[in-house]
């Protein structure tokens, strides 16, 4: 698998990690890991599109800002997202997230994510050429 995500342990909270062929793909996978903390992405229909943008002067801050923007959109719109298209150019991120309004009986959402932290924060290229993006989020 070139593009993939996983969760990693933290005593009080939990880490989200994404890999991709590009930095943008790793950011998209990290967003999928974020969604999967809340609900199974497979049961979230990607029927409504939302545009997001953020920027930062380095990649790690950009990841925190990206996940923070998603957390804010989920909260304000009362939506969950299951598909992401991300573009990153010169420290600016533009994305489209597809999802639907929260439906508790169907989505069985486990937990709200409060925010993205700078803990275990890492964005970089691995020896195998793939990009990694990860941080701990507060739940």
């Amino acid at each position: 698998m070139m593009d993939a995500w996983e969760h990693f342990s933290h005593p009080a909270d939990v880490g989200v990690r994404g890999w991709g062929l590009t930095k943008a793909a790793a950011f998209a996978q990290c967003a999928l890991a974020l969604t999967a903390l809340i609900a199974d992405p497979a049961v979230i229909a990607p029927r409504l599109a939302v545009s997001l943008a953020c920027e930062a002067d380095h990649d790690e801050a950009l990841l925190v800002n990206w996940l923070s923007a998603l957390i804010c959109e989920m909260s304000v719109r009362n939506m969950l997202f299951s598909r992401f298209e991300v573009e990153i150019n010169d420290g600016r991120l533009n994305a489209t997230a597809w999802g639907e309004p929260v439906d508790p009986p169907r989505h069985q959402p486990a937990v709200e994510v409060k925010g993205a932290t700078y803990h275990a924060l890492r964005v970089g290229r691995l020896d195998d050429g793939r990009w990694l993006a990860q941080c701990v989020v507060d739940v």
């Binding site: 809340i38 801050a61 909260s75 925010g115 932290t117 803990h119 507060d138 739940v139």
Partner: protein
């Protein structure tokens, strides 16, 4: 953690001598067994806090301390604004003013028990809880500003509870110096429909039975009687507080660099209290405190109304409401001199001793009620602030059991349905909209709250007044 890393001052007080860039020592209040169970990073994080400018006396950690980010959860630290002291968004945490409020029904548990199933169902139906829930109010701009300024008093004006209850809330229900203008539009929009919601994760609404009293005179002053039922609510400032923390964590990373503050960890991002960023954060954080106080005020009234559907004429009298994620300017005594410091408590409860002017007259002789939440399968405690606590850790005590196992590990180890069935066999009814969330909160993923409370009492941080056990619990 190996206790040999610390200097033992007593069975419950352990010191980390200053080293490297530490300006003050670290002081950990816990017994040896709790320390052995703690993550090594608790000490590293205590040491990191001790490096921040203007810290006074020590970087403290409570018996329920566990690894956070930047500050440990269970961390307490005071900063002197006149000595270049800082305020840190990470030192308060994402859930600003998360706290506990406990109300007393005066009803015998035996009267509740036969109707407990109905009561639990009713509470789940009436209390908005979990991801995607929306509260009973839709706030426009003007109302939002009023809520952020006036806290629980605003909620009372809206018909939630009584003005008399405000006396029973930390700071009388309002955080002064709130500045809604420092709260971002995103934070405000996150809160427009979230007033009166419980949230998820470790937040809960619990029906409890008082089963044991440790101090009869204090219990009498608090109105606690064995066999009677209490209701406790644990939640915070919801989306607004989370967004304030997000906004200012980002801003403080830049501010720290601009003010020449060397950070051992980015999560310790901070700004001088007297700086523009520091003042802006304090204004926004106090507004978020007001949001949390108003939220819990609304929630208790929703519980009260639901309760009366089943039990006519019963009132739920507020015992107390206290937060455990705040930074407050407090009057203290240092070396015999009156001083005022900004005290961060992240996962630690304020615990004012007898005679403190913040306490209402009827509680003044007793000291402040300190409300310690357990897990949904174990005891909760009501403690009281002590006179000696002021000289130990700025009048602070533990806040709960504290996690010992990660959420990912807990969800691998337990199934939500099985957790619920197991608790039902022990007479505890759980109501939730998410079994997965329940698994992550399984009682086995927390420290032993009895031991945490015993260490808190032994260290003189607060004294035990009563123990309560859960009868029913609504989880988000």
């Amino acid at each position: 953690m190996d206790p040999a890393r610390l200097i033992r001052k007593s069975t419950t007080e352990w010191w980390l001598e200053p080293h490297g860039a530490m300006r003050v020592p670290g002081v950990l209040f816990a017994d040896e067994e709790l320390i052995r169970e703690m993550d090594d990073q608790v000490l590293d994080q205590m040491a990191g806090v001790a490096c921040l400018p203007g810290i006074v006396q020590a970087s403290f950690a409570m018996p329920d301390a566990h690894r956070g980010y930047g500050f440990p959860i269970g961390g307490v630290a005071a900063f002197d604004a006149d000595a270049g002291g800082v305020v840190s968004a990470g030192g308060v945490g994402f859930d600003i003013s998360c706290g506990v409020r406990t109300a007393l029904t005066k009803q015998p548990a035996d009267e509740i028990r036969p109707r407990l199933e109905r009561l639990a169902d009713l509470l789940l139906a009436r209390i908005p809880a979990g991801v995607g829930s929306r509260g009973p109010l839709r706030l426009g701009h003007g109302e939002l500003e009023a809520m952020l300024t006036d806290g629980a008093a605003w909620a009372v004006r809206c018909g939630y509870g009584t003005a008399r209850e405000l006396e029973r809330i930390e700071g009388r229900g309002v955080a002064a110096d709130a500045d809604p203008a420092q709260v971002s539009p995103q934070a405000k929009s996150r809160q427009a429909e979230e007033m009166g919601t419980l949230g998820s994760g470790n937040h809960y609404l619990e029906v409890q039975e008082i089963v044991e009293l440790y101090d009869a005179p204090l219990a009498a002053l608090y109105g606690l009687r064995v066999g009677e039922v209490a209701v406790s609510i644990h939640c915070g400032s919801r989306g607004l507080g989370h967004q304030v923390a997000t906004d200012y964590s980002r801003r403080m990373v830049a501010a720290a660099a601009r003010h020449g503050i060397a950070l051992p960890d980015r999560e310790l991002a901070c700004a001088p209290i007297c700086s523009e960023e520091g003042q802006a954060y304090l204004g926004a954080m106090n507004a978020a405190i007001n949001c949390a106080l108003a939220n819990r005020q609304i929630l208790l009234e929703l519980v009260r109304r639901a309760w009366r559907e089943l039990f006519r004429g019963v009132d739920l009298e507020l015992l107390y409401d206290v937060s455990h994620n705040t930074c407050r300017l407090e009057d203290v005594t240092l070396d015999g001199q009156p001083r005022a410091f900004y005290i961060h408590r992240k996962g630690a409860t304020r615990a004012f001793g007898p005679g403190h002017p913040d306490l209402p007259p009827e509680l003044r002789a007793a000291g402040q009620p300190v409300l310690i939440g357990g897990t949904m399968g174990t005891s909760s405690y009501i403690m009281a602030g002590t006179a000696e606590s002021a000289g130990r850790a700025w009048s602070s005590a533990c806040h709960g059991a504290g996690r010992t196992m990660s959420r990912t590990q807990a969800s691998r180890q337990w199934q939500g349905r099985a957790v619920m069935d197991d608790l039902a066999r022990h007479g505890i009814l759980i109501r939730t909209r998410s079994f997965r969330g329940l698994a992550e909160e399984a009682p086995g993923s927390y420290k032993d709250v009895d031991r945490v409370v015993a260490a808190t009492a032994a260290a003189g941080l607060a004294r035990k007044v009563a123990r309560l056990v859960p009868l029913a619990c609504v989880k988000g």
